[in-house]
Amino acid sequence: MQRFEGQVQLVLYPFALNPISEVATQAAWCAGVQGKFWEFHQLLYRRQELWYRLPAPLERLSDFAKDVQLDATALKSCVESGQTQDLMKADKAYGQQLQVSSTPTVFINEQRIVGAQAESDFVRVIRQELERVQRPGQ
């Protein structure tokens, strides 16, 4: 991203594939309510091993919240209230419209990349897209 600064926009769609992931996705949205979406988003991946097998991971996720200076009680009640459920459902619906059936799925403009790929592959496609859109007459 840094090497293409100003030329690329990343839009993130947390795409919950199971009930545990739904809780995590809602927690991320709720962290966003407190202005800490990206910090919590990264934390969820970094500490994945600690929560993703738990049948009810909200307690553990609330504990993590303190580490990124979030109000853990507010985060927990936000998730429990279901106030971010609509956002999550909207993302899911959008993903389904785009025929996203597995994650990660990435669209670089209209080019679909499914599954984990090497960074060099993304760089190559981004370069191709930049060349394509910057070509005169395109």
Binding site: Q9, P104, V106, F107
Partner: protein, 93 residues
């Protein structure tokens, strides 16, 4: 001597040579196998063509939806209106 051996050879050939009915049967079997293979191949090509057509229709359907702008509530990095937009769908588990 030579006459005798020629006659013997002819006799042995006719003894082991397949009958006309068997030859015809083998030819038909071969024709059936080749015909079946051609049919399977044609069906395969047809199905592949239909699949590719359906996929390209789906892709065409997907493209305009990808043009949709990110909602205000969406978390993004990088400037709005950038020439390249990356939309990442990822699951936390």
């Amino acid at each position: 001597m030579a006459k005798k051996s020629r006659a013997r050879a002819r006799a042995s050939r006719s003894q082991y040579a397949p009958s006309r009915a068997v030859v015809v049967q083998r030819r038909w079997r071969l024709k059936l196998i080749v015909g079946g293979a051609i049919l399977v191949l044609a069906l395969g090509v047809g199905l592949l063509a239909r699949y590719l057509q359906a996929r390209s229709l789906q892709e065409r359907d997907v493209a305009p939806r990808l043009q949709e702008k990110a909602r205000e509530t969406r978390y993004t990095r990088g400037p709005a209106g950038a020439p390249v937009v990356i939309k990442e769908f990822s699951d936390y588990t």
